[in-house]
Subunit: 455 residues, 2 copies
């Protein structure tokens, strides 16, 4: 009943909803780019205005980083309070030359909306806001609803996380709805049962005071470009596991039931993976399946490395320095600070001692967490997803991180419910990010049904 | 006598000579930058005009790359013909932000001229031209003199080398004077007895079709940034030697006499090296001295590596691709084409086979060569250098390459005589390149004396 209503409303208003979403997507709210600071604030102000206009009590939460946005509707206090979490910040667009259209001028092509941040996370949270708006305008919203839109999720939510303790009372809730996750690789609806945590750091190795001539000094001066390669190689054992001491201590293997569900939702055929991504899924630990490696195993990833000359032609130098950016995905049992400490120790013990080596920007983001598959809320959400899509809803242990979720769970006392509609083809964090119009619609209907059902 | 005359002339005309040199230095003749192609041609034209103005028969030699410049003075044909080789092209200036002054607006500070290309090689060959000019104007030039100024030495002389066979007759000479080398690290005058050859190539490793989210795919997708580090590590044995199969075949150890001279001219105390360059001279093969490693041993050097994100903050991606630029310095006995073939084979055998790996831009530059320490020409040059400087002249086996020299030696039938005045502090190929005014003066006097003496 409510599903049909919501579908009808959506189709009657689709072009208006999309135009409003486009307006949001045009705001260049890149949190990791200092030059976009004002655009980020503009985005926060825009969202406060928007949520005020639909009747929520809305305001900015200032942090030491970018502002977050909070909004509240006070409903029947005997019913569960729903706290909704999303983020308005987006990733940088580089390499910009690989975008086929302007990342901040959304276009629809073949049923997909193309724009930076449309899947991660503007399109997702905006479908939620439209659902609240509909329920409220039609006197169907009875629960208290709180909305928290983070301004620096792509920067590990550092600003908001530091404020959480002071927001404890404000954020008290029973259900923590998060819409920043994906369908299964087969595009089945999914309830996310786990996310990995993250720690990250940068390694710098300093050699000569300036680039040296590779003829005059080659075979004599120690070369940071070579040494950083040797150092990075020491992070990995020959079986693909991470060689940092104590890295796997206290990690529990997945239960048989978890593994069975994970295999069902997230195991992609090797050749199919290759055909989608143009690379084989053969990274990480040998002898463990892909769904297990993503959902239940930690990983150390080189996000970037640079040293010396990489332009056209050749420049025969021994580079003066080298740099690598590393991120580690964590699973339950791993303490981010301990892992960072051990990784730093590993660098110091394995780097060529005659070079000056520095570990900097070390950041312990959230811990990894796994949720219980049992309980009424999960059952309700599963039922709604199956009703909307006509497909069996799966349990998914994702490899990505939403660092703030575990902190929010702790501070708010709410039960997390992670359902999102991004698809594998959305290319989040990469050029030509997109989001299916179908997903936007399903986000709207799911949210509406869940809020109506939780009364 | 002639030394005093040349000194007197130099000091009387120093400011004019330097102003003319500055004019040459202002021309941005960067051969490895296509956008500077016209500047390179302008530099060649400028040099033709200049050498015509001092009475040499001068013209452009067109090549498939940048033009070279040839000039000739026909003297007494019963006397030895001297062919002088230098190069007017210079290295790129990046990273430009590290230059303290404009690289193409020369300034003198503390007895040094600062400008791109001043030591390598404009200041060196221009001191030679000024000496010819003086001798000629004063009827002191009796030998036939030929001047060959290369337009793409920094690009391994590819253009000129390809033309050499067709220039065989034009370039016939008895003595091949080259002024593109250095003093000893102790600033003693030096006659270079050996140069290394070079081969170079680029490795590219291709993973996913676009950067992947390091959470969603970390521990699953194979990461080119990690794999290129592992691959580069396989180039080196734990004793610092190069692990490419057959790399050291056919290399002869230095003779005791050569090693003794090399130790005398080119062995720098470890701590002193560190204090000059801010890095220890502990690269290359363990158990061999520094002078031996530079002059008599080959080396594989990573000139640059890049993959993924290296900007501010973090970008949690698995890079789609990775790239490394490699150059190999060769010694006599190594055939550049064979070494390249073996290096390529090594890459293909050691790269992770599930990634697409490509070796490209493979270029076999000149072979390494060693000269005889005996003979009249060497004695004469040694005597002149000791006369000018009051210091004992040393024999130096340099690690750098002037790829065209061995080809020129073969084509012209001339005996190479490599004497240059660049110093270790000149930072050639790096930001803030400079050249001592004293070296410019000594180049002028040495050239004048040698031409007068070889009659």
């Amino acid at each position: 009943m409510i599903k049909k209503d919501l579908e009808k409303v959506y189709f009657e208003n689709e072009s208006e909803y999309l135009e409003q979403l486009f307006e949001l997507l045009r705001i260049e709210s890149v949190s990791n780019d200092y030059s976009k600071k004002e655009e980020c604030r503009h985005c926060a102000d825009y969202l406060v205005d928007y949520m005020s206009s639909i009747g929520l009590n809305s305001y900015i939460i200032e942090t030491e980083e970018l502002p977050s946005v909070f909004a509240e509707y006070v409903g029947d206090e005997s019913l569960p309070t729903v706290l909704f979490y999303g983020h308005y910040d987006v990733m940088p667009v580089d390499p910009i030359e690989l975008w086929k259209t302007d990342p901040f001028e959304p276009v629809i092509k073949d049923g997909r909306i193309y724009a930076r941040g449309v899947a991660d996370d503007k399109g997702q949270f905006f479908s939620f806001l439209k659902a609240i708006e509909y329920l409220k305008n039609n006197n169907l919203l009875r629960n208290s609803v709180k909305v928290l839109l983070d301004g620096s999720e792509e920067n590990a939510s550092v600003g908001l996380t530091a404020k959480l303790d002071s927001l404890k009372e404000l954020l008290q809730a029973d259900i923590l709805m998060v819409a920043d996750t994906t369908l299964t690789p087969e595009d089945d609806p999914a309830i996310v049962m786990g996310l990995r945590g993250m720690a990250s750091f940068t390694i710098k190795m300093y050699g000569a005071s300036h680039d040296l001539h590779s003829g005059v000094h080659g075979g004599v001066a120690v070369n940071p470009a070579e040494e950083i390669c040797k150092l990075i190689s020491t992070f990995y054992n020959s079986d693909g596991s991470v060689a940092i001491s104590g890295f796997y201590d206290n990690i529990k293997d997945a239960s048989e039931k978890e593994l069975m569900h994970a295999m069902d939702s997230n195991e992609v055929d090797r050749d199919k993976y290759k055909s989608i991504y143009n690379v084989y899924p053969d990274g990480g630990e040998n002898g463990r399946g892909q769904a297990e490696r993503i959902g239940f195993r930690p990983n150390l990833c080189v996000n970037g490395i640079s040293s010396g000359y990489s332009g056209d032609g050749s420049k025969t130098i021994i580079p003066a320095e080298a740099m690598a950016k590393i991120s580690i995905r964590l699973v339950p049992g791993q303490n981010p600070a301990d892992v960072l400490r051990n990784a730093t120790k590993h660098v110091m013990e394995n780097a060529n001692p005659v070079l000056r080596t520095v570990v900097e920007d070390g950041a312990a983001h959230g811990v990894g967490f796994h949720l219980s598959m049992d309980g009424e809320l999960i059952e309700t959400a599963k039922g709604i997803l199956e009703d909307i899509t006509g497909k069996s809803a799966k349990f998914l242990w994702e490899g990505a991180s939403i660092p703030i979720i575990s902190s929010l769970q702790e501070v708010t006392g709410a039960q997390p419910l992670l359902v999102g509609f991004s698809t594998e083809g959305d290319k989040i964090h990469a050029p030509n990010e997109s989001f299916p119009v179908e997903s936007f619609k399903n986000g709207f209907i799911y949210t509406g049904m869940l809020l109506a059902r939780s009364q």
